[in-house]
Subunit: 241 residues, 2 copies
Amino acid sequence: MNLIILKPSEVDGQGRAVLADGRARHIRNVLGAKPGKQLRIGMLNGAFGTGTAEAIDKNAVVLVCEFEDGLPPKPRIDLILAMPRPKVLKRLWAQLAALGVGRLVLLRSEKVERYYFDSHVIDPDCYNPLLVEGLQQARCTHLPDVLVRPLFKPFVEDELDQIFGGHMKLLADPTGDRRMAECIGGLGERQRIVLAIGAEGGWTPYELEMFKERGFELFGMGERILRTDTAVVGLLAVLSQ
Amino acid sequence: MNLIILKPSEVDGQGRAVLADGRARHIRNVLGAKPGKQLRIGMLNGAFGTGTAEAIDKNAVVLVCEFEDGLPPKPRIDLILAMPRPKVLKRLWAQLAALGVGRLVLLRSEKVERYYFDSHVIDPDCYNPLLVEGLQQARCTHLPDVLVRPLFKPFVEDELDQIFGGHMKLLADPTGDRRMAECIGGLGERQRIVLAIGAEGGWTPYELEMFKERGFELFGMGERILRTDTAVVGLLAVLSQ
């Protein structure tokens, strides 16, 4: 935990927060903090700041919080991900937040089993703590917006342009001739990017056509066929370079 | 499984291999292969080829194998990794093989718990099947060479130059001013690279000094602090671009 993340509801009018969960244990046992100790904090979806430990006992830690002006920029990469197997997605949540994703769309695709959408891993009560864990690891405050879309066509036809109209649009596919570096060369630093990543086995020709019609550029990833989680982490890392 | 990997001992003088494990189940149940079906195969640490199913029953699959001339190139990236937590390393094995690592050194560092080296995850009987799983996923045949070094100083002083003498040497550290892209810009395609990645918390100043004396260039990875497994996958992906 490299940053203590607080929710707006946890900080009272005097800037005081009482922590009694894993964060308190971390401050007490891992950091071995004593009263007066200053800690790096961040408001969820908000500013960074400093929390001064006012009181520490075995039940709770009281922090007096001061937040800096200005908000850290939102990650410039958004992701459309064919819904992975629930086990894989569970492992991915913290990494997605840590690598920095502005918005994540979990989309049905022909090669995705319908029952994946019945899994508890797409319940905010399951994924929000994992996302916050990733933010606390990577020292960021922006919680990815998550959209779950169990129908491919209505999302692509009715929502995609609205949400990602001004984005540079990229899709990883073995038929893409260009490498990703060529596609993003010369992009402005603030240009937002949306990256579509298919299931194992990729998007179907129909799905690919739908994406292409909406301006997605295809790029190849070399000869290796990667597992979804490996590909997602690798591509986000390459895009953040 | 996108490639069926065979070991030299499994193929007889007539090029015949009898499979009776997960590969046979995959050929029978997932691929639904019938006799005559041609499958993409690879010899472990060797050439690609074609296996023609000669017989398929509930106990075994018999393949008649023909291998191509020429060997796929060895991955050009080697890795020196401060020994991760066993749980993390277990998840990493298949991904390391899939992304392509020529040689992997698992090294003790000040910030690594000594007992990690007692774990069964560094037993070849544990990791070899996981590495092969990664190769079969990514369609490669090169099994990473694994060296386990529970003492930092003797490895760095006595072995490092010998093993990695001609390599471009890189080390990920928050004190590095340059970005990785600058360090590797203009490298020849065949230039081998060795990348050193520390534990959570990084290398100690003493360890960093030892690496620098041996020609390692430090590069920064931006402001985010990533978990070891996220960092390893991300950096390998960036280097393979």
